[in-house]
């Protein structure tokens, strides 16, 4: 499978571990990622807050750049996904807006490329069976709270690949790599997003509720698919709960090289979780090293 890849700003910065693990996991699953040439920021929440047309134009510029390859676009960041997908729907439906964008950016909107989130691609495109086949170390005993946040599931007419109130795609993926998804009711609660920089006390309250609910549900970590959720959950919580990107957990289960590097980039230490896993199930990779020593 070949896809146009839009990493988004966070994956080169605050969520570097998401970028690295996305590349490695896609490679392992036979997904070839072709980075969109000279892509620009999607405008996050600021562009649509101040001028909706800014947000659409930025997305249109990236779609135009992707059209040259003609491959469907995959985005790992939930916020980028929301923006580009909203813009793509608007370009499809609103003829005058489409003409305006085509004229502004001197391109012709083909409407042929699908805009997909990485979770959707892996869960529904690659499929759970292929993921299961690739697992070399089941993450047995690891209790994971699958956290979707807002923009993977809302608004439903834009996202449309999972249930809005009780999504399950991430849960099923967690199950496929041998871990145990916990049942909890804060899957789609908002973390406060960019309010972290404006009113941090609000985000502390929201993140406090989310992380405490995850602990109460018996989770030993949270899995997310959004860079901003991850930063907020890591930096504003008080319970010391490790936060992983779902691709990092997949990397662990696939026993991919580079795992240690990503797992050490977190603000909340992940060592305890990893050590517990390794004690239970030494990876084949580590075993061969030990055997070599013997």
């Amino acid at each position: 499978m070949r896809l146009s890849y839009y990493p988004g700003c966070s994956l080169h910065a605050t969520a570097k571990e998401y970028g690295l693990s996305t590349r490695a996991v896609c490679d392992a699953l036979g997904i070839e990622l072709v980075e969109i040439p000279d892509w620009c920021c999607c405008g996050a929440s600021s562009a649509h807050s101040l001028n909706r047309t800014f947000s659409i134009a930025l997305a249109a510029r990236n779609i135009a750049a992707a059209q040259s390859e003609g491959l469907d676009i995959v985005l790992p960041c939930a916020a980028c996904f929301g923006n580009v997908r909203t813009a793509d729907a608007a370009l499809r439906q609103d003829e005058s807006l489409r003409r305006e964008m085509e004229e502004l950016l001197s391109f012709r909107y083909s409407g042929k490329l699908r805009v997909l989130h990485l979770l959707d691609v892996i869960r529904n495109g690659v499929g759970l069976e292929a993921v299961r086949r690739r697992v070399v170390r089941k993450l047995a005993g690891l209790k994971v709270a699958a956290y979707y946040g807002c923009l993977l599931v809302r608004p439903p007419e834009v996202c449309g690949f999972d249930d809005t109130e009780n999504p399950t795609s991430l849960d099923s993926l967690v199950e496929a790599i041998g871990a145990e998804p916990v049942k909890w009711s804060y899957k789609t609660e908002c973390c406060g997003a960019s309010l972290a920089l404006i009113q941090p006390e609000i985000v502390e309250k929201l993140v406090g509720e989310i992380t405490e609910m995850a602990v109460e549900a018996g989770a030993s970590c949270i899995a997310t698919a959004c860079p901003l959720c991850s930063t907020n959950l890591e930096s504003r919580q008080k319970v010391g709960l490790p936060i992983f990107f779902f691709t990092e957990l997949m990397g662990l289960a696939f026993d991919l090289e580079g795992c240690e590097k990503w797992l050490n980039m977190h603000l909340v230490g992940t060592e305890q979780v990893i050590e517990a896993l390794q004690a239970q199930h030494p990876s084949p990779h580590e075993m061969t090293q030990k055997e070599k020593l013997l």
Partner: protein
Amino acid sequence: MGNRPILQPKKGLMQVLWQGETIPIDFSFMETVNRRSGEQVQLCYHCHKCGAGCPVASFMDYTPDKLFRMAQLGLKRQVLSSSTIWLCSACHTCATRCPNDIDVTRVMDTLKQMAVVQKVKSSQRAAAVFHKAFLSNLRRFGQIHEASLMAVLKLKTLNLFSDLKLGLRMFMRGKIALLPKRVKGRKEIRRLFKEIRRRAEVPEESH
């Protein structure tokens, strides 16, 4: 009387008594909001679903449904100066659950834009400052450069020392780059912004 507005015709203008203050009614306000957002604010029948699901409702001065009632009544100044519009985190919970299918998030964006254009003062000034700083960072580099965005934000809000430790921890883990990545097409991005701004209709309510 609590918050109940009382209509008082005075000097040929319709006014309401709102929380001890007499303020004029702007009869065209809701229509302007509808036109600019493409939504129908008058459809709100105040079921409070939006407020009940809103993660930040407890920090807002009015829940979204109350704000919509105020918009229906034409309380323009009160709506545009409310903290509600800036504290909305755009999580889309309200819009997803609204029985009348009002895209509440889009209306909130529209109100933010009207507040900026009309230079309405708000207790949540920092939010507007953040969004503007974000876009100017985007215009400058094409992709967001966190370090310079944070520096500008701190200077503009004079909130110099918050989260310094957090910033340092992220820097130590290689999550904050010192130098920005520069998109080759940033000239094009600047032209886009300029052109879109030029084409935006002249806001007729900016008197």
